[in-house]
Symmetry: C2
Subunit: 547 residues, 2 copies
């Protein structure tokens, strides 16, 4: 950008030209024509399918920048763009055409749309949020103790992704407790500090709180605080149990503090900021993930594009004060979890193949550790290892290795913040999304749903937690066709683990329950309701951050 | 705004229409035609004359919103707008036409421009800033002790506003030491903790650091970190003396931490945020003013539009961490200063006729106090009063009253955070910009440069600090024509005070030096260089925040 006091470059000719073409549909220079109706439709498809990786403003993050300027530089015209959208790329872009998700004419529409300046997405104010806010059962009408005899601390919340619902399943009996209508593509679930409340956040920015103490556990409030969201967590510090939740928005780029019991929106804070390294303004600096400290009144927010970790102190929200430590880290932040001590938070900077370590006690960047291609820890897996001491492991989307990192600078300084162990998933390629363990289990589990190999993607790999040797490969029974194995979750005492059989929403699949000692399939949870199960969240493990 | 998941309202028809009209110059519907060349010229005039009050994006702050939508609602067409711009308003809008600052054709151009959507102003990255960064004398080549025998701690920096220069004047001898070329419309000066360095910030966003120890004190570095700015301050906490400066930008809305000695830009933080009350996003949330704590490593930044006070901890900037307490206060924040103890910071929320008190120790909002119409304290005036204890006073642009507020909740709780004394400036109307006192002086001084009365605006009113009775009215000698008296500043020991004779840049005026005991005019500082003197900053008083 030219820097000069005369602000004569306010209005770029390109901007004017592109706006002109939208309506005038001139054909020679500039982007290909697009009617107003087409612009509307293309905006919606882009939002549903593309914005997550490329950004609403198309400046890029997980996916590359797709501004008209960037595309022109690369010489990408309608035909080239159509080919990308149809076939995907080895770098991780889905094959929307091949998969049959987008039709040829939709792909052509998108390819033309991308050559126009992105339209300005709308803002959302507190008043807008309040219009969407519903309390189905106010706190004073909720029970004072559980209204059933079930062991609710061993309940599992199961995301039924493509049907827009969350199933509550009893971990003791494996019986369905209720199905809660949460809306479009729930991304994650979180438990409150007491475990009583379970929160969901959808990709449409709708948050729901489910009361597990009701006779029939169900949602008691909902609110939409964003157009697009990925994260939610609760206040876990002593004195603030169940008091607040925080929602991390993708658009508008912000976080929103809501009442923990009613979801009443309280406070919006913008996350638009500057890339930590180049220090260019990034309007679309989004909240990728959130964890909640057990030892301080803080939430750890990962500001994806900026490459900053924000420690948000919520202790004075009611007084109108939000305190934030903005810590420069690395780009682009994705997901992560606590070490065993819960002092250190480890998060993937997935485009720099780095794990960032934040010391939440001293509120500083502790370390940057190079790992493999596109780390994707989920929340990671913690092991108290006989040799290395406490370690935390992550798998990768981009390769088959798993990396384990020493996390005990005081007890085991020689291993701290180094990859102390690499080990491989069998077969070729990457595609791992989640690894998981439990303090009572001898095993570490890894899935591989993004691997193209039809056998690998329906397998769960079981490793010994001490030797890191492959102990067993668990395969989804062959009667389940066209499915992937995804997301391992242990029950409360670590004696079982559950695996999702991830299919399409047109047909039911199953949740498989394995004995965590014998590794035998113990139970298949089935029923017409079991469609597109993905993430499963055990109340106790989620409440106490056990992984 | 309609809230719905279908983002079909991305691109408003109005936006498209306005962009179309720019180039197509269609005449019937929509805003009046404007050529590209005219758009360029109008943008520049708007930036120079209007953006300060109305905002680059025209959402309004000190002045009302001027978006096409807002104007259409009020039914303002080209003729109405021309009338406003020509004549000004009683609310404070200058009479640009009458004053002869803008021509009839420029006014017509602006009136048409305002009916179009505002163009997007450019961003500024760290790399952009570095291109403008110049070190004239690197720190290692600067002297280790003063290279002159002058009493530099009693120097005054005098802003020569419309000639883009700062004069350094020796407070002992009243002799000009040097004239420093600082560029366009310097807004304020600040001293570093040691007093050695003096910093200027211009409305064009250019910061300059002047080394008072040079044989001929002069600028040693400069950098442009914004297109528009109003504030700068330095790190005053023990261990950080002269280490950092912070620049508050109007556009881009941000603050920038720079090296205190070289002005190397280090860290940019966006101030785009949400209005504290309605919680709507405000891209243009600007830094109105800054003060620096003496007791903590923090700067107090006033985020004008948001109505928030941000306490910015700079102790970990070198580690890539900025800690901010964002405190909800009131709209729109303007200027303010410390109480006598320097624990409390008092700032005007000028559109809500309120003084906000921030407790910088507990990092909380302490009080909101209703005062008169449009308070404008500058940094205010502190008095240790025999009855009320420590109090802090402010004048008003909108009325003749001065309000004094008790600031000692421990020693004088009955007076704390109440207006304990109102007293009047003589004559009608408001127009006060600055009041000032000094611990060694018996008097409190007030100017009135914005009052329309030709006599009042060339007068300084001297009040007794204990009785608040008017002691004397000092008038600028009649030989100075077409001038206003503005900005009082005491010398180091409080034995003198200086007044600026503010004229136009076409003719020289004077700086008047009065004996602070006898109130007699002691000296007229004159010379061809004395053109448009406004703010004057004594090194010791500025360094120690004495006012």
């Amino acid at each position: 950008m030219k820097v000069s006091r005369s602000l004569t470059t306010f209005l770029s000719a390109a901007t004017v030209a592109s706006f002109l073409t939208v309506a005038v549909t001139a054909a020679n220079a500039g982007p290909p024509p697009l009617t107003k109706e087409e612009m509307k439709k293309a905006s919606q498809i882009f939002f549903d399918r593309c914005a997550g990786c490329h950004g609403m403003l198309r400046k890029g993050a997980t996916g590359p920048a797709l501004t008209p300027e960037a595309l022109k530089k690369k010489g990408y015209n309608t035909e080239v763009l159509e080919a990308f959208i149809y076939n995907g790329t080895p770098g991780g872009m889905p094959d929307w055409g091949k998969q049959g998700v987008l039709s040829k004419s939709e792909i052509n529409l998108l390819a033309r749309f991308l050559q126009h300046e992105p339209p300005s997405p709308p803002e959302m104010s507190l008043a807008d949020m309040k219009r969407s806010w519903k309390v189905f059962i106010p706190p004073e009408k909720r029970p004072k103790r559980p209204q059933h005899n079930l062991n609710w601390k061993n309940f599992f919340g199961v995301i039924l992704r493509d049907v827009g619902k969350v199933a509550i399943v009893d971990g003791d009996t494996k019986k369905l407790v209720n199905i809660v209508d949460t809306g479009f593509a729930v991304h994650i679930l979180r438990s409150s500090a007491s475990g009583r409340y379970m929160y969901s956040i959808g990709r449409d920015g709708k948050a729901t709180v489910i009361d597990l103490w009701l006779k029939k556990p169900d949602k008691v409030a909902e609110v939409k605080t964003c157009y697009d969201a990925r994260s939610i967590d609760t206040s876990k510090y002593h004195g603030y149990e169940d008091k607040y939740a925080v929602i991390g928005c993708y658009w508008p780029p912000s976080f929103v503090v809501v009442d923990g019991e009613t979801l009443e929106p309280k406070k919006i804070v913008s996350t638009s900021s500057y890339y930590y390294d180049t220090q260019e303004f990034v309007r679309e600096a989004r909240v990728a993930s959130i964890v909640s400290s057990h030892y301080d009144p803080i939430w750890v927010l990962n500001i994806k594009e900026a490459g900053q970790v924000w420690l948000v102190d919520y202790s004075k929200v009611d007084k109108g004060t939000v305190k934030i430590d903005m810590i420069d880290a690395e780009r682009y932040l994705h997901d992560g979890g606590w070490d065993l001590s819960k002092r250190y938070f480890l998060v993937a900077a997935n485009m720099r193949n780095t794990i960032v370590v934040i010391d939440t006690k001293d509120k500083e960047l502790e370390a940057l550790i190079k790992v493999g291609t596109k780390p994707h820890p989920g929340r990671g897996a913690n092991i108290d290892h006989p040799k290395y001491g406490p370690i935390w492991c992550t798998g990768h989307i981009g390769e088959k290795r798993v990396a384990c990192i020493g996390t005990d600078p005081e007890g085991h300084p020689e291993y701290a913040w180094k990859v102390v162990k690499w080990f491989n998933l069998p077969g070729e390629g990457g595609g791992n999304l989640f690894i998981k363990t439990h303090p009572n289990s001898k095993y570490l589990l890894a899935d591989r749903p993004l691997n193209p190999d039809p056998e690998l993607k329906r397998s769960i790999f079981v490793f010994d937690k001490v030797t890191f040797k492959l102990v067993k490969t668990l395969k989804i029974p062959s009667k389940y066709k066209n499915v992937r194995a995804v997301h391992e979750e242990f029950n409360e005492d670590g004696s079982e683990f559950w695996i999702s059989v991830w299919g399409k929403k047109d047909y039911p699949t199953a949740i498989l329950v394995y004995d965590a000692k014998t590794l035998k399939l113990k139970k298949e949870i089935t029923g017409d309701w079991v469609r597109t199960p993905t993430g499963k969240f055990n109340v106790t493990n989620t409440m106490k951050d056990i992984y």
